[in-house]
Amino acid sequence: MTQMNLVSAINDALKVAMRADDRVIVLGEDVGKVGGVFRVTQGLHEEFGEDRVIDTPLSEGGIIGAAIGMALYGLLPVPEIQFADFIFPGYDQIVSELAKLRYRSGGEYPAKMVIRTPVGGGIRGGLYHSQSPESLFIHVAGLKVVCPSNPYDAKGLLLASLRDPDPVLFFEPKRVYRAAKGDVPEGDYVVPLSKAKIVREATGRRAVTVVAWGAMLYEALAAADEAERQGVSCEVIDLRTLWPIDLDTVVESVKRTGRLVVVHEAPKTCGFGAEIVALVNEKAFLHLEAPPCRVTGYDTPFPYTLEMDYLPLAHRILPAVVATANY
């Protein structure tokens, strides 16, 4: 066990994978000599060389497109998109090519890769360094979406993502890149995909299920602490893999509590929270004591100055939890 933060845990996962399997290559803007804009790929270039840690031209369409070709060749590319906000020039390649290759070729040409990219706000990054575009990828059939909240999960989920046969978008909550710290085992291990984790169990009869992921998990936990003081118990679920979702864990929890609050940074409308609420309505309708509730970013572009007003922080989660409990 070594104390790590999110950055070092992901870096460690990449090293473990690249040492074990020479098909694993990393490519992206400044991922090589510089070690990535957030230093997540630091040291890889030195250890594995420029043929496995590739500084690419500045073009996300090119990065994803070339990574698809490398995957078709037989490599296991891990492209880094510097910020999820920059992924859109590569979105066409992800949606029209990567997600559909296996299907349109009748299973003959799967293109396996793990696209790593930092997501989320709260870093004074403004509207082009702060977005959370998960629902835009969850909506596309053929993609899996992962978002760890802590170093242990980050390493284990990345190693699991690399083993998974399907393309994975690995969203890294950059607000907690360094603040999320914890013990991480050495070497290889996996945290299985599509398994959520109950990180705080409800204890009282008047309880609310709170679903969150990434950086907002910590806000949900902070809100849960305060809610407990106010007599409302929270069952906090870290989704970890957003898609395919671990619906059982969410639904079983809602059946226990009868109440659901979903927290995410992305805008509310057509956000992933909408899908979670719909699924819970379908699966746990008769158990609901209150309307499922979403605490999310607003339906605006991500702001610069007012980012702390935009984000669904604990002080916005708490009243939603209490209101849901007392509905």
């Binding site: 290559i25 043929d51 496995r52 590739i54 690419t56 031209p57 073009s59 369409g61 090119g62 497109g65 070339a66 990574a67 698809i68 070709g69 490398m70 995957a71 078709l72 060749y73 037989g74 490599l75 590319p77 020039p89 066409d92 390649q93 029209s96 090519e97 559909k100 290759l101 296996r102 299907y103 349109r104 070729s105 009748g106 299973g107 003959e108 040409y109 799967p110 059939a141 053929g142 899996k144 998974d164 046969p165 399907d166 599509s194 395919p244 979702i245 619906l247």
Partner: protein, 356 residues
């Protein structure tokens, strides 16, 4: 001609008639003479001739099927058989072929059977693509024909990545990407050439253009000159001359295998397009099939003796393939949910169970 180096002629096909900086390469004169006076490689010429005849005949048959409503659409390469069939003819086993939307028939050159092609066009359960791709998007892993999508230029970048990977691995295999229609105007073309240039990728881009498309899609006189800006060597060949196309692609592939990086080959080729009344005038003087026929005649090969039995054989094979495809089952409804992911995930299982 033995070294595969085509001669060049001074004619150009550029729109304004202004001579281009990059000369248009030809091996044969319009009369079918080898321009540099050397002997013709008869085996190559006969092989190419058979593929050109095949492409010509099948294009007409598929167009007929589309007009009869049997298939919803079909992108033909009528008239540009040289540009369609000659490039993949230069590939080796193990190379990857990224076809363009108009080069479905090029897949036959790679070994895809006529039956498989027709099944894919009809989208039957027996097709490798399981009735999912567009009719003319042929994909066959067995034959190294890579699945392409509907976004112009997207697959060009894949070819760059494939070729980059091969170069990194010291692999002498190379790949060929067909740039069809106006894909050279897409962002994917830029990404592909830029990445290939940076990565010294084992890739050859075969860019099929006609004068009309060229003038409407770019301000430059040629596509080839764009290669210079990416540090990618470029050549221009006359698409009517299948031997010239083949030679240029073959040489570019050799260069790629030897670590020479990517090449852009602009293939200037007129395409037979339907007139307003729907009729299609086949090329006459410009016809790549006839040119090769003349060349073979000069080499003492009876082209008609090759062509007639081949056409009869193709007619029969096509008739059988279409009959078989028509009577084949559509893919089962459950297959709708397969191959989205490697394993059908739970949410799709429940949708499948509801649908089946």
């Amino acid at each position: 001609m033995q070294d595969g180096t085509p001669a060049t002629s001074e004619t150009t096909a550029s729109a304004g008639g202004v001579p281009s900086a990059t000369p248009l390469e030809r091996v044969l004169s319009p009369e079918g003479e080898v321009l540099d006076g050397g002997p013709v490689d008869v085996a190559t010429a006969v092989g190419l001739f058979r593929h050109l005849v095949t492409a010509r005949l099948l294009d007409l048959r598929f167009i007929a099927l589309q007009r009869s409503g049997d298939i919803p659409f079909y992108a033909s390469s009528l008239g540009e058989e040289g540009a369609t069939s000659a490039p993949p003819f230069a590939l080796d086993l193990g190379d990857a072929y990224f076809p363009g939307p108009r080069s479905a028939l090029g897949s036959l050159v790679r070994g895809v059977s006529l039956s498989e092609l027709v099944h894919q066009v009809f989208g039957t359960a027996r097709s490798a693509t399981r009735g999912r791709g567009l009719p003319h998007h042929v994909s066959s892993r067995e034959n190294g024909v890579v699945s392409v999508g509907g976004v112009p230029g997207a697959s060009l970048t894949h070819a760059s990545g494939w070729g980059w990977a091969a170069r990194m691995r010291g692999d002498r295999r190379a790949c060929l990407a067909v740039v069809c229609g106006a894909a050279f105007a897409s962002g994917g073309f830029h990404n592909a050439l830029n990445f290939a240039g940076v990565g010294r990728a084992n890739v050859v881009f075969a860019c099929v253009v006609d004068g009309e498309t060229l003038s409407s899609q770019t301000g430059s006189e040629t596509v080839a000159e764009k290669g210079q800006a990416y540090g990618v060597p470029a050549r221009r060949v006359d698409g009517r001359d299948a031997l010239a196309v083949h030679a240029a692609i073959a040489r570019a592939l050799v260069s790629a295998r030897d670590g020479g990086g990517p090449t852009l080959v602009e293939i200037v080729s007129p395409r037979a397009k339907p007139a307003e009344d729907g009729s299609i005038a086949l090329p006459a003087d410009d016809c790549p099939v006839l040119l090769l026929e003349r060349c073979l005649a000069r080499a003492g090969v009876d082209a008609a003796a090759v062509r007639a039995p081949l056409e009869a054989e193709l007619d029969e094979a096509f008739r059988l393939a279409v009959a078989e495809a028509r009577s084949s089952a559509a893919p089962g409804r459950a297959s709708l949910f397969e191959d989205v992911y490697a394993e059908v995930p739970r949410h799709l299982l429940s949708q499948r169970d509801a649908a089946v």
